[in-house]
């Protein structure tokens, strides 16, 4: 914490629940930390926190975001350092049922303090378009919109894109929040058969740049079961590689997009066998 930093604030958001915001936050946060950057992931889902669980830190939570906002604890007391990656920190959400506990001023202060200490602040948004979701995106420099190739998810993503263009600090200053699409739970063989919206369909409808395609994989479920992000737990698996590529694209590297396809890859062969 010696040298002064200036973090980039990311929000991982989607509108719809259950599309993979929390697993993506954990996987991307761990991937960024693994590459040497100092990262804090913040859970904004007050009352329904889960980022702690996905990161395997559920038994280490003492203080949380709300405690910091209310002055019960200092920020460093609430930050939980990951046991595997020394550059990765978690700021957990509170389990309080009082949603009003999350105040706009409080969040602004916490983000401002974290900005000077980290390279990346990754805000895990709750589902919906209420207070928690709007506060998670409020200070974002860039947004990662997690979308499943499925009608309700795409529709809700479109709604969230609208909010990012109007309700964020950057939007209010007349600037634009960089938006990146992360397509999650993609089944290549279903898309090939016309059973699922294709990557091109989703891109054409939402018209924001593609950050990555995370294939449906049992490794993601396994990682959550074990409380270890897929980018740590199975770093060479297809979803982990897709997350690693996504972080490099976030940093501005030009990396060709790997679209998982029917014909290539061990993963797809395994899926193919299952489907047969």
């Amino acid at each position: 914490m010696s040298d002064e930093k200036s973090a980039r604030v990311l929000v991982v958001t989607s509108g719809k629940g259950g599309v993979g915001k929390t697993t993506s936050t954990a996987a991307l946060g761990a991937a960024l930390a693994d590459q040497g950057d100092k990262v804090v992931v913040i859970d904004f889902d007050v009352g329904l926190r889960n980022l702690d669980l996905v990161l395997g830190a559920e038994r280490r939570v003492v203080f949380d975001l709300i405690n910091v906002i209310h002055g019960v604890a200092k920020l460093p007391q609430a930050l939980i350092r990951d046991k595997r990656l020394e550059n990765l920190y978690l700021l957990p959400a509170s389990q309080t049922r009082d949603k009003e506990a999350l105040t706009e001023d409080g969040v602004a202060k916490v983000i401002a303090e974290l900005r000077t200490k980290f390279d990346w602040i990754v805000c895990d948004s709750p589902a919906g378009i209420e207070r928690g979701a709007t506060l998670a995106m409020r200070h974002a420099d860039a947004a990662i919109i997690v979308t499943n190739p499925e009608v309700s998810s795409v529709r809700d993503s479109d709604r969230i894109i609208g909010l990012l263009d109007s309700k964020t600090e950057k939007a209010e200053r007349g600037e634009r929040v960089d938006k990146h699409l992360l397509i999650n739970r993609y089944h290549p063989w279903r898309a090939a058969r016309g059973e699922m919206l294709s990557i091109d369909d989703v891109l054409e409808i939402l018209s924001i740049p593609l950050l990555g395609i995370i294939p449906e994989s049992e490794e993601v479920l396994r990682a959550s079961n074990l409380g270890s992000p897929v980018t740590i737990n199975a770093a060479s698996s297809a979803p982990a590689r897709a997350y690693f590529d996504a972080t490099r694209r976030l940093k501005g590297e030009e990396i060709p997009m790997q679209i998982p396809s029917e014909s290539r890859g061990l993963l797809n062969k395994l899926f193919g066998r299952k489907a047969a």
């Binding site: 009608v151 795409v154 479109d158 016309g194 059973e195 919206l197 369909d201 409808i205």
Partner: protein, 111 residues
């Protein structure tokens, strides 16, 4: 037959088409409130320079038609003069003595 083809080719094309139509509609609806707010603000400002009215007695309505859309602005203006001390307007409202429900008469020039 059409349905049969859809099943054979998969349902993704239908999903795509439905989303495109729906989102075009929703994006329109989303931008409309902002436009209405701006219109309301600016129209009321201009009218307020000349006549006084109650801000909550204003109705602004947009009807979207296929070829033509209409914008209706309905402002209830009390039959009274502007309060004193305000710059005189071009046309001045004179209370209608005969009928309270009739349209106010606008007289040109000074009284």
């Amino acid at each position: 037959m059409n349905l049969f083809n859809r099943f054979r080719r998969g349902s993704a094309p239908v999903a795509r088409e439905r989303l495109q139509i729906l989102l075009a509609h929703e994006r329109n609806a989303r931008s409309a409130p902002d436009l209405l707010d701006t219109l309301r603000e600016e129209i009321l400002e201009v009218i307020g320079r000349h006549v006084s009215f109650e801000p909550d007695k204003v109705l602004i309505k947009v009807d979207r038609g296929k070829c033509v859309s209409t914008l209706a602005v309905d402002i209830e203006i009390p039959n009274g003069l502007r309060p004193e001390g305000v710059a005189p307007p071009l046309g001045k409202l004179v209370p209608d003595q005969v009928c309270n429900e009739g349209a106010p008469v606008i007289q040109q020039g000074a009284a």
